[in-house]
């Protein structure tokens, strides 16, 4: 590439900053690209790993659109949580692998964020076994939720449903996104096809397929410990 930037280069490079171009990109260009190169949504949750440290303090980020998109709908969600507070504590106690769970309403979504240890399906399954009724009370208010409740009798479908709503965790290393895309398409070995010039486009297309994502897998200020290790160390019983 020649070092000198001509007026045309400057024009093209400046394009993304112009409003007209931005509109054009999001309405025409991106849909056209994604039609040309279909990109499937990447699965949510932590990246599978054999390292113990990667399997402790894992993130679950659920964004679930409420059926009733109104202050009344949001209030119902708020009540569902408040009424089940005791059951939630009991569940945390009996499942034993959860560090914390948070419920947040954003827009007309009820979000559930939690930090848990070990395998995702075990975590959800053990929760169903302990406080399935709480899941039922919340999921009932969510779009499409009726298909998987009562969760006690739809265990496999319920776990799958939750997994499908768990946000994709965008890797910190940009090229790992390419690995994830390859894995999704069933390619076993890394292709080595890391054309970094294509990366921004691939990220745009992926974020079209996964509109909500988690950036990274949560940043910890200390290495991973299990909830029980923390409790044990603090002498508060586990």
């Amino acid at each position: 590439m020649s070092g000198e930037e001509g007026w045309f280069d400057r024009f093209v490079n400046g394009l993304p900053e112009t409003r007209v171009f931005q509109r054009l990109a999001s309405w025409v260009l991106v849909p056209y690209w994604s039609w040309r190169t279909p990109v499937r949504p990447l699965p949510g949750g932590p990246h599978p790993s054999i390292q113990p440290g990667d399997n402790l303090q894992c993130m679950m980020n659920l964004i679930m659109p409420l059926k009733e998109k109104s202050p009344v709908g949001r209030a119902k969600a708020a009540l569902a949580i408040a009424q089940n507070k005791d059951a939630i504590y009991a569940g945390l106690d009996n499942v034993g692998t959860v560090h914390f769970a948070r419920f947040v309403i954003v827009g007309d979504n009820i979000c559930m964020f939690s930090v848990y240890d070990g395998d995702f399906t075990n975590y959800i399954r053990d929760f169903i076994a302990t406080i399935g009724s709480v899941f039922n009370a919340v999921v009932e208010l969510v779009e499409g939720g009726e298909a998987v409740i009562p969760c006690e009798h739809n265990v496999e479908a319920f776990i799958q449903w939750v997994h499908e709503r768990d946000l994709y965790q965008v890797p910190d290393t940009a090229t790992d996104l390419l690995r994830d895309q390859e894995a999704l398409n069933g390619d076993k070995a890394a292709s080595g096809n890391d054309d970094l010039r294509l990366l921004p486009r691939k990220v745009v297309l992926q974020l079209r397929a996964n509109a909500n994502v988690s950036l990274g897998s949560g940043y910890r200020a200390y290495p991973g410990f299990s909830a029980a290790q923390v409790r044990n160390q603090l002498g508060i019983g586990w």
């Binding site: 054999i50 499942v95 034993g96 070990g118 006690e152 739809n154 029980a228 044990n232 586990w238």
Partner: protein, 476 residues
């Protein structure tokens, strides 16, 4: 859900073991869908002139001379033409298959499915696993020939053969086949009171109450297909017997240098261990090898549970009836304690009894004789375990045990971050194992290598007898 349970509806190796000394697995590919359906229908026809008859669960007082059972992979069900509406009701892990679940099962590096030899290098072609049990090799041959006479239904991709050693000994020298879940509905003269709650039938059969109160697993429809079926994780697990014995040597030498060694093996205690093993003049080093072996498994090699007899093996001690309460000196990380925490405290309080497995395994390869000098220039023969880990939910039982208990040690904060010492995905650079002492402190062993290497396997559905008939009657 049908009201009465009839053992004649399920295949014979699920609720009870045959205890035959020989087994052969035929790994089959459906070659002709129509012929394969005829074969399945014939296998439950009660005539047995065309195809060996599937052994059923109520074989009664006299066990058949040879036993014959089948399992089908997801690809196998597809190959038989099971309709999509039924296929999609099977659980994800079964649909994806064992190869795709490698990370959960610790099948990485030299254990990864990409390294598995044929026929497991082509998982899409593994459709049906037929199992023959018998006393003699000639009988295995006979049944195999009988099963494949029509020459049309199936292609034989491979065969694996196992042979039991006397007294239920398996490679690494332990006595196995002591514990199995016990069911209220099944009378099994081989199983004695073990102090554990009886397992509900749903532990091992679809359509019955599970170990989680109020929870049911999805039964693939139609009812005839799914009800009373179950899932099997078939595993070919190569065991590095020489590596295991060498590790015991190293660990024993290491322990002899530790200040707390007298607490682990009080002076003179080697004589008691020697007496139990009928070895005169057992050295401290040799006794410590046995002590380490006992800690790794949670049982002395003769089967004596550490929970009841932590200082020496004792043939008078009950091998089945014990628990991990109070300050049991069975290590938290020992194999049998990881696999079944019984009534002991664990992190996942709801899970104590929820992950139990029916195990039907048999060793393969020649028995290792430590007394026989080895020729280091010759490669060791391959040895291992042909394991079947059976449960109504692969995800809630086999996989849950494999990923959180065997390989992460999540069930107890004192073992979290370590792997099962016998069958875990250990890396000598980071592995560790704690031996508990009477005083409450521990001695830590390090650098355990990986003793067990996965060489193949498949998730199979073990259909009920009505399900086999259903599959045999499929049209289109």
């Amino acid at each position: 859900m049908s009201a009465v349970f009839d053992a004649a509806d399920v295949q014979g190796n699920i609720l009870r073991g045959y205890r035959k000394p020989r087994v052969r697995y035929l790994i089959l590919e459906v070659a002709d869908r129509i012929a394969a359906r005829h074969w399945l229908a014939a296998s439950t026809s009660g005539r047995g002139d065309d195809v060996p008859q599937i052994t059923i669960g109520n074989w009664g007082r006299t066990k058949p001379e040879t036993c014959f059972n089948i399992g089908l992979t997801y690809e196998g069900l597809r190959a038989l033409g099971v309709p999509n509406s039924s296929l999609e009701m099977f659980p994800n892990e079964f649909i994806e298959g064992m190869n795709a679940r490698a990370l959960k099962l610790g099948d990485v590096g030299p254990n990864a499915p990409e390294t598995w030899p044929a026929p497991f290098d082509a998982p899409k072609r593994v459709h049906l696993i037929a199992t023959i049990y018998a006393d003699e090799v000639a009988q295995l041959d006979e049944v195999q020939q009988h099963a494949l006479t029509d020459g049309k239904a199936f292609g034989l991709l491979g065969a694996l053969e196992g042979c039991a050693f006397p007294n239920d000994v398996v490679h690494f020298g332990y006595r196995d086949n002591i514990m199995q879940p016990r069911f209220a509905e099944v009378h099994d003269g081989q199983r004695y009171e073990d102090g554990q709650p009886k397992a509900p039938l749903g532990t091992v059969l679809l359509g019955h109450p599970t170990n989680f109160e109020g929870l049911t697993w999805r039964v693939p429809q139609p009812e005839a297909l799914g009800h009373n079926g179950t899932f099997n994780a078939f595993r070919v697990l190569e065991q590095d017997v020489v590596g295991f014995e060498e590790y015991l040597d190293r660990a024993a030498s290491d322990l002899l240098t530790r200040p707390q060694i007298d607490e682990l093996l009080p002076p003179g205690a080697e004589a008691k261990i020697g007496q139990a093993l009928s070895i005169e003049g057992l050295s401290r080093h040799a006794a410590l090898r046995e002590v380490v072996a006992a800690h790794l498994c949670g049982r002395w090699r003769d089967g004596t549970p550490m929970a009841l007899s932590p200082d020496a093996p004792d043939p008078k001690v009950d091998q089945a009836n014990f628990d991990y309460v109070g300050d049991s000196r069975c290590p938290f990380g020992a194999h049998i304690r990881r696999c079944n925490p019984r009534g002991g405290q664990i992190v996942q309080r709801v899970a104590n009894n929820s992950r139990r497995l029916v195990r039907r395994g048999m060793p393969y390869g020649p028995l290792y004789d430590p007394a026989k000098p080895r020729d280091p220039s010759k490669p060791e023969p391959e040895r291992g375990l042909l394991g079947n880990f059976i449960g109504a939910s692969l995800g809630a039982q086999f996989e849950a045990m494999s990923c959180d208990w065997l390989n992460l040690g999540l069930q107890d904060p004192r073992i979290t971050g370590s792997n099962d010492p016998i069958t875990g995905a250990n890396d000598p650079g980071t592995s560790w194992f704690d031996l508990p002492l009477k005083s409450g402190t521990t001695i830590r062993l390090r650098a355990l290598p990986r003793f067990v290497r996965t060489r193949g396997g498949a998730y199979a559905f073990l259909p009920s007898i009505p399900a086999i008939r259903f599959l045999g009657s499929l049209m289109a």
